[in-house]
Amino acid sequence: MRLGPRPGERIDRSDEVTFTFRGKPVKAFGGDTIGSALFASGQRIFSRSFKYHRPRGLLCCSGHCPNCMMTVDGEPNVRVCVEPVREGARVKPQNVRWWLNWDLMAVTDKIGGPFTPVGFYYRTMIRPRRAWPLFERFLRSAAGLGRVDKHAGRKRRFDTENRHVDVLVIGGGRSGVEAARQAQIRGEDVVLVDEGPEPVERLGFPVLWPARAIGIYEGNLVPVEAGSTLVRFRAKHIVVATGALEQPLLFPGNDLVGVMLPGGARRMIELWSLRPGRRAVVLAGDDRALALAGELEAAGTEVVRVVDLRREQLREIEAWGRYGRLESVSLDGETIACDLLLASGARQPAYSLLAQAGARVEYDAKRGIFVPADLPDGIEAVGAVTGRVGRVAVTPATFNGASRTDKCFACICEDVTDKDMKRAIAEGFDSLELAKRYTTVTMGPCQGKLCHLPSIRLYARETETDEATIGTTTARPPWAPVSLGLLAGRPHEPAKRTSMHDRHKDLGARMMWTGAWRRPHSYGDPEAEAKVVHDSLGLIDVSTLGKLLVRGPDAAAFLERLYPNRFADLKVDRIRYGVLGTDGGRVMDDGTIARLDEELFYVTTTSTGANTVIEWFDWWNAVWGFGVETTNVTGALAAVNLAGPNSRELLGRLTDLDVSNEALKYLDAKRAQVAGVPCLVLRIGFVGELGYELHFPSPHAEYLWDTLLGEGADLGIRPFGLEAQRILRLEKQHILVGQDTDSESNPLEAGMPWLVKWEKDDFVGKWALEHVRERGPREQLVGFELAEGLGSVPAEGGQIVVDGKPGGRVTSARWSPQLGRPIGLAWVPSRLAHEGAEITIKMNGGFEQGRVRLKPFFDPDGGQLRS
């Protein structure tokens, strides 16, 4: 029913757009929404309701109510009343079995009512227990609205933008525009956002339209949905001008197609030049609704009756219809034929954003609405949202249901009737929060916008209290539903790569994650790589190690107090292994500490522990007030470990440093040029063979990597990955913190009691460790090996079984090519923590016997490392 051209209409009649509805083409104009175009094409039923599958038509035309939700181009639950038309869009109804006008599920409305009162599912389908999954499957398939295409991928591109402004105005009505104008006059940086559908008056300040503020979060953060862009506003000052929302009246048949909110009808006429109906009855709760009568007449709708509810109290309203469409209304017994019933109670301030921000909500008995109070600093409310605009008037009762011929809906999203609410109260759900959870009133897609106030009214009436006593439920973000796609933004997860990353790729490495790092798992054959380290020479990228410089006059004292072992007596150019503990004496991280000079230490951490360690250092430094500075050089420096019997030979070729065993001893740290690159050379041996860690500025990484591989070619050099390193370190029983230890492991039980220097005055966790020492060890981390013939390796995480019960666990296990048998580390009860003890390991679906080994499997005395 399109009217002739009207001034101010949003549609552009010269711009024809066609989309399909159920596969059939629908013609529309530019500026139309899918909803307005469908209405113009004669469609009146837009959806079927959640529970009873009752026909529903356009109600609010502002994107707030659930009545027009359809599936558009595969996107479920689209409010088509505000969704702009797009050429070729495919629009389908949803939650319907068959077709909108003939929905098979509507049987639940006709006969299901008495069988399915509120909460019926809590009282039925309990016995027999076996049958419940069948019932449940039916319930699940009946619930839900739109359908998601299970095979779709991400389709749209979303972006995120951050903006800082002096003033953000939310809402582009008269008050919002005025507030923005004033801010602009004051010379402030102001932006106004408005969700539409009415256009905003432009007065020179920036306007985002249509754009919806999702919420007001801590720190005046206001995320705004602006098409495909999420704009995160941080505003010094927020002006909330979200206006007020018309509240439906409660009467039997109040959900019939043709019962509308006055604002909905006004938008149909003004924006899209549609005639909302032929014969209208208007039940007005305020002046705006009253004024609509004239507009309707001008649009060719015959207005047969106008009632100003503030002057004339109706005792009984009842709407009648056929096939879900309004045919007449009865007002105190007088029946009037009509196809349009515009009915509204008072307008309720849309205070949600303010409440989210921390404002209190109180009941204004004079106006009969809830209003915001005690606004937090930096937030202001203007216009209708304050609830203090316009003259005070007697609020019309929202509830006028008396005759019982049809259902009277308190909540159209969830199909909660007045009867349901009364029943819930009678059953004992006598507070609004309980009733909300039991009846699900206000929990549907409109977020309570159209049912919050009416349900509170109903409650007050039934429990014989007042609205103020009952209060409201908590306002929760978002203000309106917002898509996961918009919130997620572009698919983006950070990954860290070392400066040799591309070299690993070129060598065909299989990459794996360690924390946020990508590292080579292997270059094809981890066992062979491990063997090369034992036989000749291997090279591994260890740039992922956390690297810190600890500098200052108190540096030694600082480390001395942090670690359970000694650092004050560490000589310059020497290295010591350290395990960092928590206050509870638990193992937190480990690494090597090299003293570069009196006041400078170089600390390495595990690859994933760097950030925690830095925070830990800074925390204690602040607590103790030491003269220490910590600098994170993890990214600045790359590192490789050159390991194997031939490593000295290769290093000697590339540096002037005396690399003899006498000049560069095990656990020595020296600064030297290696192949012309300034390096810190650390002689340590995580993998058990003679080896040198080279730490150097990252930009030289590819060059040094290439040089080492090139110059070492004749020495049999080969790169090795993390997997080979794991085999090698296990042969030495070197632990991996976080794998071999958990959040409760302490160094005493984790096989490192020698690390703890009791004679020190204090160190972090000393008190707790003393307790452990007193109570004695209960379980211990030990090495174990399996019989030589056994080809398979126990799973990491596998269980040590004692008396048929879990008694311990395997934390690491590998097949050692060097030893020709499976080896590992495991936590076992202390009585089994002695050399040669037999342990039972659950593996291969059965049990295998292992033997405890307390000394490293390879080079138990460390001769290899020191030679």
Partner: protein, 404 residues
């Protein structure tokens, strides 16, 4: 069936608070009400008052993400939750109230070999204790959850998962109401809007509580106040090694059945299920900072949305409807603190982190037994508050946080 037509009161109308009860339970959530229920039903102890400062189920019981499972890491935890799961399975019938327990299965995804180790450990412990739990690999995951993105091009490719077929989701409010109705019918008094403001002691023994509605004498007082445990126990002079954090969650608009298994990824700090109403329910790990301020945050929805779409890109157009926040009591070892305290007859259920709701039936049974017999049941002995003095912690945390 006739019950459907008849309007029956769930519980008696609010009554006057008497001056004395044998047992006062502080906290009208799932734990408090369950304890009251089993006290009355199993042990015939009916002179019991449950005091709740707001409405029943207003705290963690009504804010959690309703996942029930038993696939814990420690033998102590696994045995405890195994019993809880068993009780949950029979609870609808027991309470004659349909709790809509949907045992759709629970998948904890592993995205790295470290993740697989943790999954293996849990599977192995579970199997030894007779809990249905095992490792599955992408082929089988595809069958269990055809919608999930198993592509190796994902940022965090899925390499395996811990599969726990009896794991499920339940209607959390119904658990609260079912226990409340059962307790009420057993003679227990439930007092909403009754806040405990003090706990009286004499000679190291609890004697009663002060409330905003007057003083109440009691032989036994039990604190079941997740989120506020430290504050309530402070009233009794019992310090708890607990910090309080917020945990957030959100639901989307209802959609037709999409996901019939619970998905957890601790690597991505996200867990996802679909309720019987059709909403997709998404939660995350607890926030790292301590606070009582229950305000929802925006970064939480952003990263949870991002991680959800990594796993289920199809959900891109689905809209978030509502987000909320709850409080979690975190103990140092991620295991609960349950049973007796140094104050005689003052018992506590606290420190549940993100695991409390799953334990309601077994907490109720064991605490009721403790009150009735004066002896700590074996099942909860490992969770005694004393363990922080004897250093016998039960590390549920593993290396990385694995919760929900």
């Amino acid at each position: 069936m006739k019950d459907v037509f008849r309007v029956q009161r769930m519980w008696r109308p609010r009554a006057k608070l008497r001056r004395r009860y044998d047992v006062v339970i502080v906290g009208g959530g799932a734990h408090g009400l369950a304890t009251a229920y089993y006290l009355a039903k199993t042990h015939g102890i009916t002179d019991v008052a449950v005091l709740e400062k707001s409405y029943i189920g207003s705290g963690a019981a009504g804010r959690n993400t309703t996942i029930i499972r038993a696939n814990y890491r420690t033998p102590q935890g696994a045995e405890f939750y195994k019993e809880s799961l068993r009780l949950y399975e029979g609870l609808s019938v027991e309470l004659d109230f349909n709790l809509l327990f949907s045992q759709q299965g629970h998948l904890t995804l592993a995205h790295s070999d470290r993740g697989l180790i943790t999954a293996t450990e849990r599977a192995e412990v579970n199997q030894l204790l007779g809990i249905d739990s095992r490792l599955v690999y992408p082929d089988e995951i595809a069958g269990l959850c055809p919608e999930i993105n198993l592509s190796q091009d994902a940022t965090w490719p899925i390499v395996g998962a811990l599969y726990h077929p009896p794991g499920g989701i339940i209607r959390h409010d119904a658990v609260v109401w079912g226990y409340a109705r059962g307790a009420d019918r057993g003679g227990v008094e439930i007092h909403p809007y009754t806040e405990v403001t003090g706990i009286e002691r004499s000679n190291g023994r609890v004697t009663g509580v002060r409330t905003n509605r007057g003083e109440v004498e009691a032989d036994v007082v039990i604190s079941c106040t997740a989120g506020w445990s430290t504050l309530v126990c402070d009233l009794a002079g019992v310090p708890l090694p607990i910090t309080t954090h917020i945990l957030q969650a959100f639901v989307t608009e209802p959609i037709k059945p999409f996901l019939d298994v619970i998905i957890v990824s601790s690597q991505m700090h996200v867990y996802i299920s679909q309720t019987d109403r059709g909403e997709i329910l998404i939660g995350a790990e607890i926030e790292p900072y301590t606070t009582y301020k229950g305000q929802s945050t925006f970064p939480f929805v952003e990263y949870s949305a991002r991680h959800t779409l990594e796993l289920f890109p199809q959900l891109e157009p689905v809209k978030v409807l509502r987000q909320w926040t709850g409080l979690c009591d975190l103990s140092p070892d991620y295991s609960p603190i349950l049973g007796e305290t140094e104050v005689e007859n003052f018992h506590v259920s606290a420190g549940w982190g993100t695991y409390g709701f799953k334990a309601a039936p077994i907490v109720g049974t064991t605490l009721a037994e403790l009150v009735a017999t004066g002896r700590t049941p074996k099942l909860i002995a490992p969770f005694a508050l004393e363990r922080f003095y004897t250093d016998t912690l039960v590390s549920e945390l593993a290396a990385a946080a694995v919760s929900h």
